[in-house]
Symmetry: none
Subunit: 422 residues, 2 copies
């Protein structure tokens, strides 16, 4: 069944407020098994709202609208619905009473503009709003079930849970299943090629890709005649995707790459220290977005050369002879922080993030990583492309993946070779 | 003139990714003087895209579309545009060559799926994309000027600045001016209250607020009969906003808070070192997003207690007596890293970012900062609210603002008192 979402508000079409209701409603409708064919945003303009209601009610079986139910003159949704249906606005006494009580409880006087919020299109069903003043309402526009809620996210969510979702559950038929696989190490185009032909092999399968630099998420979405069938096919396909993408798949669903690195370290009982030059603290930040004290000790941000010498004890002679961005200094940094922090394994990153500071011999994007671990120290060198932010982010990810591989003893250098391209 | 925005992607209609391109484009079009009549989001479905193109091109004089230009099979925008125009897709040789060169520079082999990205609707004008692989393109659909860009925000923004905005400026009638003021230290509601009544005093003035945690941007937007008048009024109002918000305004337009901190340090000739516990590297990361070597030395991430002792020389007795989250340890961390890194000024942050680890005496959100500088060491304590990510972010910002204030010798404690509330 097809659904549509309509968000009403001039602050949205002017881009002053980013619409969060549309994505939220789209996600909830998708969860219930609806196919969301469209999310529209229109200004507080009665003509535009009426046109949108007609357009969307023709296209979808279910329509959820948010916004335009407030007390001010620019709140026009109820009037627009009445016009679209060719009925008058009438005062809904129980809603007016509820608004009155709400103001009484708050010890405030009710203004005439608030009584406007109890005026609903004739024949519409009021949806009581325990989270705010304005009631929502439901109405059929042609054959389309339409639901109207205030734009305040808290009130919208309340009305969804209390009234709309229970009503839609009885009409929705869930016959799809989705598995989200999270990958790092292959550019989006390579992921797509490795999965070429898969969609043709399974009826009802759609593969979706979402690049969130430098990661790529693969969504395995299957529609079938029953949810059990959909789930079965999705799991089979997800397994095939894991085989084809190999070590690039690090997790599923809401997993994150730093958590995957943490699991690998934990499996060894290792605690990690870092020494960051061009990443300036980003590796530590990524690792500590979730609690990490069981696998992360800390480290050093050695942005200036003096910090490398003073905090990590990198030999001034090594710095002079090879330069701060060199395999030798990367090695000295990793070994220095491993010793200083008494860690089991240590990662260092030194490079030229740009936009300035590059030379023909040492271009912007040149990065050296070293991992010092109980088995020795390995050094990796690569030239990354992108702007400063991308080089920093990719440098942090590649460093973490080197640590993860050593912890997992899967030294697949091929994974890293492609990790550096967009 | 009327404009419309179309965002294409099943991840958007499924609510898996919140659309940020729609609001961004709506804001840019509004700035240029267009009235945005609609923002639509449709899935990666050729039929839906074709229908949307027809619908929107009838309604608006200008249409900007994002998404669906990637290399994978679910990227259908170019094909849909060709179908809407009744023309074939043809290979655009200069774009193909640009893609080839991009892969060559990265030392990677170009895959056949990437050459698909050079296939444009016949007659469309390619818009070169220095920020990514896929070119954008421009075409007339009926009388509507339509522009197509990849969905990756960085590439979208590049194409907007390089190609679309310059083209639209020549067709738009601009009689408005906007000034964006960047603030940190006041919650959005307090900013709104301090600016109350301003809109009524100036004809054509709209104030917009955009909270980007923990910052709040104030947009002073003025429409007038000429652009010169609009600009004049906007500058007068911006000055009044600066007076009313005081030290909370740190910059304008594309300025960032870390850059403002860097300016304050530079004005003193000071170089900063940091010692981060609960922020785990975030302060360093914020400072090094832009080149910072003239005011930032580096520092230590002392996530575990052992790191505080080993890397910073914090006394074990101090740690035992007061705990890692204490004013005493904050002081020892700042003084330790100032000494170790030979910095002029040093900032330390230690706190409980949560979600676990809180106690009745030391709740989640408790943070101590210390700034060690030539005049001594000052310690600040506060309990922040929010989830782990928000506490870390706010802790980093408050720490940076303490450094900035000391560098500017503006010890306005009032600014910091409010910085911690929502």
């Amino acid at each position: 069944m097809t659904a549509a979402v309509l968000c009403i508000g001039t602050e949205l079409t002017r881009g002053e407020l980013a619409d969060t209701n549309g994505p939220w409603l789209a996600a909830r409708l998708t969860e219930l098994g609806f196919q969301v064919a469209r999310v529209e945003v229109v200004p507080d303009d009665e003509g535009e709202i009426v046109a949108a209601l007609r357009r969307l009610s023709e296209r979808a079986s279910v329509l959820v609208c948010s916004g335009g139910l407030g007390p001010t003159t620019d709140d026009l949704t109820a009037a627009a619905v009445a016009r679209a249906l060719g009925v008058p606005l009438v005062c809904h006494e129980p809603s007016l009473e509820a608004i009155r009580r709400r103001f009484e409880r708050a010890g405030r006087e009710m203004s005439p503009s608030n009584s406007k919020q109890a005026e609903l299109p004739e024949g519409a069903q009021a949806l009581s709003n325990a989270a705010g003043t304005a009631p929502g309402f439901a109405a059929f526009i042609g054959d389309c079930r339409a639901y109207f809620t205030p734009g305040v996210p808290r009130e919208l969510e309340h009305l969804w849970e209390a009234h709309i979702a229970p009503r839609l559950r009885s009409v929705a038929v869930v016959t799809s299943h989705q598995v989200r696989l999270r990958t790092f190490g292959l550019p989006e185009s390579a992921v797509g090629e490795k999965l070429a032909g898969l969609e043709e092999q399974h009826a009802g399968l759609t593969l979706g890709y979402r690049a969130s630099f430098p990661e790529v998420e693969v969504k395995v979405h299957v529609s079938a005649t029953s949810q059990a069938d959909a789930r079965q096919t999705a799991l089979v396909v997800a397994e095939e995707v894991r085989v084809r993408l190999g070590a690039a798949v690090y997790g599923e669903g809401g997993d994150t790459f730093p958590l995957a690195v943490g699991r690998a370290l934990r499996s060894r009982g290792w605690r990690l220290a870092v020494a960051e030059s061009c990443t300036g603290g980003l590796v530590g930040h990524l690792l500590t977005r979730a609690p990490a004290s069981d696998f992360f000790v800390g480290g050093a941000i050695v942005y200036a050369n003096s910090a490398k010498t003073r905090i990590l004890g990198v030999n001034e002679e090594t710095l002079r002879a090879h330069g701060a961005v060199s395999p030798e200094v990367a090695r000295a940094m990793a070994e220095g922080i491993r010793r200083a922090a008494e860690a089991d394994v240590a990662l260092s990153v030194t490079g030229i993030a740009g936009p300035t500071g590059g030379t023909p011999e040492k271009p912007v994007g040149l990065v050296h990583w070293a991992v010092a671990h109980p088995g020795g120290t390995s050094v990796t060198t690569r030239v990354l492309t992108g702007d400063r932010g991308q080089i920093q982010r990719l440098a942090a990810y590649v460093g973490l993946s080197l640590v993860r591989e050593i912890a997992l003893e899967e030294r697949s250098s091929s994974l890293l070779r492609v990790a550096t391209s967009g």
